[in-house]
Amino acid sequence: MDYKDYEVIVGLEVHAELSTESKIYCSCRNKFGVEVNTECCPICMGMPGTLPTLNQKVVEYAVKMGHALNCTIHNVCKQDRKNYFYPDLPKAYQISQFDIPLCEHGYLDVLVEEDGTVREKRIGITRIHIEEDAGKLLHDESFAGSLVDFNRCGVPLIEIVSEPDMRSSAEAKAYLETIKSVLQYLDISDCKMQEGSIRCDVNVSVRKKGETKFGTRCEMKNVNTFSGAMRAIDFEAQRQIAVLEQGGIIEQETRRWDDAKGESIPLRSKEDAQDYRYFPEPDLLTIVLDDAYVENLKRQIPELPNKKTARFMKEYGLTYGDALLLVESPEKSVLFEQAAASKKASPKGICNWILGDITRVMNETGKTIADTKLTPEKLAYLVECIESGKISNTSGKVVFEIILNEDKNIDEIIKEKNLAQISDASALNAIVEEVIKNNQKSIDDYRGGKTNALGFLVGQCMKASKGQGNPAKMKELLLEYIDKQ
């Protein structure tokens, strides 16, 4: 069997929970992590006689996503019932959209990094529709049956369906990551994977290279992480290729991805596919949006991460990896651009600080940049001070810790803490001479060919200067002395 003879076709259905204040059809709070069955009411629990009323914010968020993914917005659309029985679905139907989704026919350009190169790829978006989430089944060992938590019932979702345009797990990953960053940029979803706020179903088929017809596809459910999606795609492609190579045929089926085992298992075949008996939801009115409203939402769409990444690479000379990491967080990318605007510090230097120490602090403390006292101007000046040799990198870290927590002038900190770097040879000569006097053995070692002895000597000089000596300058003086002797 030769894997290389085959092409993998991937289409993705992404479910994203929207971060509205209240649920989609009632006034319960849309909140994760509260005590079970405390954020639910007769409406989201589907009690007899209760009726849904649509949260307008959900439509607004979905239209924004539609604009971001270059979709046609259906100003007039309806909601439909998807009927099926399951204990986590209290009405035994999910209110969704069937034949007329809110958004349709869009695309998303993603940057794919494969084999060390970066290329742009356009992925078609079939549709985006709004729907309600179901509850959650809980299994407790102290109880024989299952328990239901209705808190998640009625949490608003958008389902984003892609065209079968991806040709590898790497492309699928790039697509998923771009979708996630777009949701974050629009500030319409928490995107917390561990809380299940983004989930996806993966459709995979394979065909011999050169074929124009698609192979039979299989859908994998329960894919909860992006890396899991990649593993699921690779596993499924290899499974299908193996079947075809052995002369078998692929049956259209739904499979369940088991990430722990790294394999998918059949869930149901096409014959067992459920008939959801969709029909228009009679309890809700047709959604009618006026053009001005839709256009106004379009104007609110910011520059999106995929476009921003490409621009950062071009405009600031950043690598793809650095640009991606910066753009991933709207806050980091704003900090970067505002700091880079000073033009006195190098973009690369600013980027390194953001992706290094700033990211570390954010991860360790869980704080956002806005939670600290750091400003773009201060970051730019800090990098400028280091790059100009005014302070050492080590002193820079000291300054950084202070400006994170205090609203203080950097020059004053340098003065107060006596951090200014000494580059003046006349001031450093005494220190260098002292170190030479006390470390004759290392000098002999260096002369004997042990080049790393020089590093030790520079370190001793730094120590003697209490960190203030310019290491490059002191290295220069050391070499001058060694050469002289």
Binding site: P42, M45, G46, M47, P48, G49, T50, L51, P52, T53, L54, R81, N83, F85, P87, P90, K91, A92, Y93, V148, D275, R277, Y278, F279, P282, D283, L284, L285
Partner: protein, 482 residues
């Protein structure tokens, strides 16, 4: 005249003038219930203790000189598919035998604000599916005009209670005739309001796009009073129509001079009992003699209305009733091995035959491969029927038809023949399909002495005109003591 025999508007006046107290009135109604309920069987749940407390509260308010609504202290019975907070709401089904809603329907909040006295919850066909109240899981309600006959349905308990004096007024619900047909059978007045004018929040749904709550009373004025109290926009119901609703009692007494009354010929054809037909035509004559213009009109798609109705209503019902699955509330089968078996046994045991028949029918018409042939075509017919009504209302103010093809039938007469039972809805379903208001009012008796009802149909939101014409007729035909 006994208190329980009087109309709400008469009683309202007596209460206001402190000739009677709300407690006296409530006690009189419960005394009447004690006297006749064993024969009639209108109630599933009686609310005697709370009702007397409510009555006392009204009397205290009145004594304190607080402003009160005209309905304050009037005993009203509630169909058992309207959610009453803290009070059993069974839908006459085993499925909800023990269901006590933790919330009120919007109409109940409105009635509570008007200090109404709730007598109890009234019997009905199970989940409002039926035309005789015979599909109730709990009991058989009998027609007060003839105890061997059905009261009609599905709001049979509501109509029988009002006719027997077991409630001064009642709320029913009407999906295909469920207020008008029992009103006709029992000889009382019932209004099915324009779709969207009364909030459906808290009405246990049968067919969401057709259901409306409406009033049943002894007179047109009573119905206008209760309708005025329950109508109005509600943010809890997306289908409720935002507009200003007047006090409908003020629209009465305006006369009928120049009223253009249409008689749709399809409603007087095959299958309509001749005594019924003659009674309605006599009423038309009375209108004509008093200055109305009566003319024949045609609604050609009427023949298809029953099919369209049973498809749409059953489709929605199959989905609306899916939530009764034994998981959260209501009946759950005592023994099961797994989830699927729990669902199957719960629903097989919890629902009665007629409900299951309609769930199966609705599930079928929505199934892939059949949707286009049934549900979609029924929805197209719905549009056509509505358009035909609209063009009829371009020429007429109101339409006059029989409410039912015949008078009340015998208990058990139609229970084995669902199609025959369904055929009895021919005159009423079109109104729901088109979302129109319609009212049934007595127009005489047949040779067996049974009440005959006629139906006045109006354009959307024409309740003022509809009630005024009915009120005029009631007076002109000598149906009330003036």
């Amino acid at each position: 005249m006994k208190l329980y025999e009087m109309t709400a508007s008469e009683l309202s006046g007596q209460l206001k003038e402190k000739k009677i107290s709300a407690r006296e009135l409530t006690e009189a109604v419960f005394a009447r219930i004690d006297e006749t309920e064993s024969d009639i069987g209108a109630y599933i749940t009686l609310n005697r203790e709370t009702a007397l407390k409510q009555a006392d509260a009204v009397d205290q308010k009145r004594a304190a000189g607080e402003p009160l609504s005209p309905l304050a202290g009037i005993p009203v019975g509630i169909k058992d598919n309207i959610c009453t907070k803290g009070m059993l709401t069974t839908c006459a089904s085993r499925m909800l035998e023990n269901f006590v809603p933790p919330y009120n329907a919007t109409v109940m909040d409105k009635l509570a604000a008007d200090d109404i006295v709730i007598t109890g919850k009234l019997n009905m066909d199970e989940f409002a599916m039926g035309s005789s109240t015979e599909t109730s899981y709990f009991k058989q309600t009998k027609n007060p005009a003839d105890l061997t006959r059905v009261p009609g349905g599905s709001s049979g308990g509501s109509a029988a209670a009002v006719a027997a004096g077991e409630a001064v007024l009642a709320l029913g619900s009407d999906t295909g005739g469920s207020i008008r047909q029992p009103s006709s059978f029992c000889g009382v007045v019932g209004l099915k309001p324009t779709y969207g004018s009364v909030s459906r929040y808290g009405l246990v749904a049968f067919a969401s796009s057709l259901d409306q709550i409406g009033p049943i009373g002894k007179s047109v004025r009573d119905v206008a009073m209760l309708y005025s109290a329950i109508c109005g926009p509600d943010k809890m119901d997306a289908t409720s129509v935002r507009k200003i609703y007047p006090d409908f009692t003020r629209s009465l007494g305006k006369g009928i001079s120049g009223l253009k009354l249409g008689l749709p010929k399809e409603y007087f054809g095959l299958g309509i009992d001749s005594e019924t037909k003659n009674a309605v035509l006599a009423a038309a004559k009375l209108f004509e003699q008093n200055g109305a213009v009566v003319k024949e009109v045609s609604l050609p798609s009427t023949d298809y209305a029953l099919s369209a109705y049973y498809i749409i209503a059953s489709a929605e019902a199959s989905s609306n009733l899916a939530r009764f699955d034994g998981v959260k509330y209501g009946y759950r089968t005592p023994q099961y091995e797994n989830l699927t078996e729990m669902y199957e046994k719960t629903r097989s045991e919890g629902f009665g035959t007629e409900v299951k028949r309609r769930i199966l029918l609705g599930t079928f018409v929505l199934s892939s491969g059949y949707y286009d042939a049934y549900y979609k075509r029924a929805k197209l017919l719905q549009k056509r029927i509505a358009a035909e009504f609209a063009s009829a209302f371009a020429d007429c103010d109101l339409l006059l038809t029989p409410t039912t093809p015949g008078t009340a039938f015998k208990l058990g007469e139609n229970t084995d023949d669902p199609l025959k039972m369904y055929a009895g809805d021919i005159c009423t379903v079109t109104v729901n399909i088109a979302g129109l208001p319609a009212l049934s009012i007595p127009c005489g008796t047949d040779s067996k002495g049974l009440p005959v009802g006629m139906q006045l149909i109006g354009a959307k939101f024409s309740e003022e005109q509809l009630l005024n014409a009915a009120d005029w007729y009631e007076s002109a035909a000598g149906l009330r003591a003036e």
